[in-house]
């Protein structure tokens, strides 16, 4: 299983704060995003802007290969401070 978390605008536009999907061998973050966008137009909308990606709470890019039980997070650029 892959756990997906979303924050801020990505959470609001996708309508899903958290969900799990089945892990597949050789899956990358890019594959995961394509799969979500095909399933639901809300995900395609959520991924339109600048999307930052973290896998297991470490920033990475969309080429990152996923292991089973990874946690993938999608969120917009941060605005703290």
């Amino acid at each position: 299983m892959i756990t997906i978390k979303t924050f801020a605008q990505i959470r609001e536009i996708s309508g899903r704060a958290e969900l799990t999907i089945k892990w597949q061998a050789d899956m990358t973050v890019d594959n995961l995003m394509e799969q979500l966008a095909l399933q639901d137009a809300a995900w395609a909308n959520a991924f339109t802007g600048n999307v930052l990606i973290a896998v297991n709470k470490t920033m990475c890019n969309a080429q990152q290969r996923l292991n089973d039980n990874d946690e993938v997070a999608f969120f917009p650029p941060v605005t703290g401070g």
Binding site: K57, P76, T79, G81
Partner: protein
């Protein structure tokens, strides 16, 4: 080294004392930065804000920054606190404290932490204005900087 994410308000003296108690050796120079919620943005007055974060990653990213600052500026001690949740205008939102032997190191480290915190720690502000809630936008120049500070090699 300490990084707190909290919903309640924080106390200047307690944080200063915590920083000093953790510093080794006792620093000759201590610089603190405190940020308060402003009561306006580019579009006019606001009525407070709410802050969303990524539990677990926010603390990790903040500690990562403090670790980088410690190495880069030879700090004796460093700490940071960031509020999340609902915040009224003028409330304390962020605190950073740096202790060092050299005055300039303490100043530079506090600057560095604030600059990178605004780009590298998963926190998102939503401002209340004219009866609506709007996500705060980032300057495009900050977006790439965020990735630079957060690349896995920096861990």
């Amino acid at each position: 080294m300490f990084a707190h994410i909290c919903t309640e308000d924080f106390d200047q003296q307690s944080l200063y004392d915590e920083l000093l108690a953790q510093s080794q050796p006792t620093p000759g120079a201590i610089v603190t930065f405190t940020g308060l919620v402003r009561d306006f943005n580019a579009h006019g007055p606001i009525e407070g804000m709410s802050l969303e974060h990524y539990p677990g990653m926010t603390e990790k990213a903040l500690l990562n920054l403090l670790e980088q600052a410690t190495q880069r500026f030879d700090l004796a001690g460093v700490g940071a606190v960031h509020r999340v949740g609902e915040l009224a205008n003028f409330e304390q939102i962020v605190w950073v404290g740096c202790g060092a032997s050299h005055r300039q190191h303490a100043f530079d480290a506090a600057c560095f932490i604030m600059d990178t915190l605004k780009q590298a720690v998963p926190l998102w502000k939503k401002e209340y204005q004219h009866g609506e809630a709007r996500w705060v936008a980032v300057k495009s120049s900050d977006e790439h900087a965020a990735m630079t500070w957060l690349t896995p090699s920096k861990n």
